[in-house]
Structures are given as C-alpha cells and as structure tokens.
Symmetry: C2
C-alpha cells in the first residue's frame, strides 16, 4: 500500500449531500477507494458565517488527513466557496473543490451567455460561482438565488408533490424572468430535487450538476498524473460521521439509491 | 452584586428559538436581568442524536455558568427533552426546562383529555412530553407529530402564505383526525407559526406555548424563594452566540418584535 495510486480519495461534506459526489465517483471511477466524512453534528453549513465554515472545514480535513490520501475532495459547495484557499494553504496534497468544475461546465454549456446559480445562503453570499464563471468567460451574465429551504426538503426526502413545487416556484421566479439557459445546482443536496427544479425551469434550461463535473475533473487529474488505481476486487471504502450514523445511513440511501452499511461515528478535534 | 436576587438568569437555546422565552420574560418579569446564549454554530439540534445534544447542552451550560446565575433556563425543547437529567447531575443551581411547564398547562387545559404534541424529530422521539403529560394525568390520550421543516420556515421568516399553510396541513392532518382539543407547540420556534397552526387546527383547539408556561413557573419559583429582583433602571442583559451575530440580530428581531443590538460572538470549550 505504499503505491500512491492505491491510496484512497478523501471526501468531506457537511453531511449527506456529498454522497452525490460519491455516486458519480462510483459511476465514473468504480475502481477508486474513498474515505467519506460527513460533519453531521454541525450540518447544515449553509446559514453559517465564513469564519466558522473555515474552522469546520479545517477540522474535517485534518481528521481525514490523519491517514495518507492521494486527493482531497471538498464535496460541499458551501465549504468549497468559503474554505478552499485556507485548506490549500494548510495542506500540500491536491485539493479538488466543486465550484470551479461546475462553473466551467456551465460556461461551456450556455449558448446565450446567461447562467443562473442556486445555492445555500453562504455559497451565494460568497459570490464564488460568479467569480469562477467570469474567469472562464468575462462576458457571461450571471443571476444568483439562495434557496435555504432546499436542504431541509432534500434531507427529509420531501422531493415531490405540491410543497416542493411551490417552494421551487417561489425561489426560481426571478431566474425564470431572467431567461437563463443554464442553471448551476450549486449545492450537493440539490440534485435530489432535480425533477422539480427541471420542471419549474422548463426543459430548454440545462441543469448543471457540480458532482458530475467535479468527478470529471478528478478523472482527468488522475489520468494525467498516472494516478488511476489498478485495484481489483472489493474496495476498503469508509463512511465516517460526527453524529447519528443511523440517520446518515437512512438518508444517505436516498442519495445513493442503495443501502448504506457500516457508517462509523468519529470525534474530530477542535482547531484553534 | 453579592445579593443572589440581583444575579442574572441564564438562558440557553440552540439558536434564536429561545428568544420566545426572552419575550415572555420581558413581559412577565421586566425587572429580571438575563444572559442568553444561542449555539448558532451548531443549530438546529432537532435532527441530532441524544448523545450529541447532551454534549452541546453541557458545553453551553458550562459557558454560562462561568459567572454566577440565580437560575438556568433550558429554552430549547430538544435540549430539555434530552439533557435536563445530565445538567441537573452536573450543576447545583436550579434548572428550569420547557417541557414540564408546557405539559402541565396542557394537562390542565384539555377538557376532553386528548392532547397533541408537535416538535422536532429529537423531541418527539424522546417521548419527553408524553411522559410529562401522563405524570400529571395518566388518563390522557396523547398524539405526537414531528414537524422537521417548521424550524427552517421560522428561521427564514416564511410564516404566512401558501407554502407554510400546505406544510402545516401536511404535518397536522393526523392530529386533526384525532380530534384533540389541546396542542402543545413543543419547540420554541413554533410560536412564530402560531397563526397558521391555529388556522389549520381550528379555533376550538387551544395552542400551548411552552415559553409562556415556562416563565410562569420561573415567576412562581422566584416569588416563593424570595428571589425576585428589586432592580430599578436599565438591565445588564447580554446576548452571546457561537456564530454569525449579525444573522442572530436580524432573525432575532422577528422573534422579539424589536431591534436587537450588541450580540457578541463567543467560543465555547469542548467537554470530554
């Protein structure tokens, strides 16, 4: 196991949302082992301040990096938007976040140059997607909307019917009015609401799933650096959470469309 | 300030919800000083496990008790339901929680002996209200319902219109069918949704606000023990939070119907 190719990929998220990245990883790179950490004792990160999000992200990353990893993925838009700079300053391994890949895919996908972004309050307030989009194409017009109730809906598995439809219509009305043709689902929870979001925006609007784009970037990085795993057979994947492993297993099964076992509760140290 | 009567009352909650207790305190006992701690870095407590709720409650209480207090109020139903026993084991000062007063008021109010309880998932799963109600009257019939989206609605100030109405109808349909005549709003956030809850249940159903009942119990305790404050003039009240003081001030103003200033961010120590 001293071969760097066979090291696991570290993935952290505020809770279960990052499992949309795991799902993509298993689809696109089924031979890669991973260790997932969901900070379920302190989720959601979306309504919190940049300072505390940075602190939590540092604590989660430090925990995962107690063991050798080949890459660290920040599978949480809120943490990516607020803490990637700090983490890159603190750790030397390659860190992939979910904002840049989603922004690039959106910039390449739009035909009319009008891109919408939905996310948590902290992600939208950071303007991270706007900055990333304008780096790819400074002529783009961007339209942002925080959708704070979406995480609660996804967590409860309340993803169809009248209530999610009305909430979605409420949040997206300005984006519809802006006549965007591409919408970034800038929170790893939102793909669970993809059906109702798509129905509300209309089928001419492309939905960008940052989980898909992120694993694409990971795959490219691993290939270019000769780091793809050659492993055959069962993977030593691990799921860690900071609270309520049973709830994580139950809610997580909605995300992965399969049963989740062996979720382990861990304690992370406070950083000062 | 060595006079115990003039010591402040400590109040803690997972976030802003406990301000419904502050509002009652200011209405019923305007001469009492208080120190409020909202654990906004880790709210909401509702979806978390009993173990982590106990740990957080112990950390918050220990912080408040760094200074002398005459009473500690657990102004959070989830923490009351899960952690009051542990806190009473750890601290010698009188501790008032919000479950028993609400249950007593409900048991005294019902005419037909059928009481409903709504609360967070952790509060409902603890059965704390059912146990408390049956202690007051073992013949009562109880009906419980977790309403996990209510906290998010209250936090966002989304308390009227079609969406809160539909969500409320969804959660309360079994309680309506059960033909209760008394409903305990077993979460300090819920009084913000009182109008829509009342409209949905019908005006023959009495709504029990645990904040009101709790401050009643506090007043009785202070009177009987000669601990009412004689203070005249401005009070040295303090608001502490563990994250995002600006957001607390903004959301908190909905709860108190007045502007909130001087909210201070503090760090609490981890207990092991």
């Amino acid at each position: 196991m001293n071969n760097i190719k066979e090291l696991p990929i570290g993935i952290f998220d505020s809770g279960v949302g990052g499992l949309t990245v795991v799902k993509e990883l298993q689809a696109q790179l089924p031979g890669e082992a991973f260790i997932y950490l969901g900070d379920t004792a302190r989720y959601p990160y979306g309504p919190r301040s940049p300072e505390i999000i940075k602190q939590f992200a540092l604590e989660c990353s430090s925990y995962l990096l107690k063991q050798p990893l080949k890459v660290l993925i920040i599978a949480c838009n809120t943490a990516s938007a607020n803490a990637v700079g700090l983490l890159r300053k603190n750790f030397t391994l390659p860190i992939i976040e979910v904002i840049t890949p989603g922004a690039q895919l959106a910039a390449e996908s739009t035909r009319i140059g009008k891109v919408g972004i939905i996310g948590t309050t902290a992600t939208i307030q950071s303007s991270a997607y706007i900055k990333a989009l304008l780096k790819f194409d400074p002529r783009l017009k961007t339209f942002s909307q925080a959708c704070p109730l979406f995480v609660a809906l996804a967590e409860e598995g309340w993803i169809s019917g009248e209530v999610p439809k009305l909430i979605t219509q409420h949040y997206l009305k300005d984006l519809i009015r802006a006549q965007i043709d591409t919408l970034i689902m800038g929170c790893t929870h939102y793909p669970l609401l993809k059906a109702v979001i798509g129905e509300t925006m209309g089928k001419e609007v492309q939905l960008i799933d940052s989980a898909y784009a992120t694993v694409n970037v990971l795959k490219k990085y691993l290939k270019e650096n000769g780091l793809l795993s050659d492993r055959i057979g069962p993977l030593p994947n691990k799921y860690y959470v900071t609270d309520a492993p049973d709830r994580f297993a139950r809610v997580g099964s909605h995300f992965l469309n399969k049963e989740l076992n062996d979720v382990q509760k861990i304690f992370i140290d406070k950083q000062s």
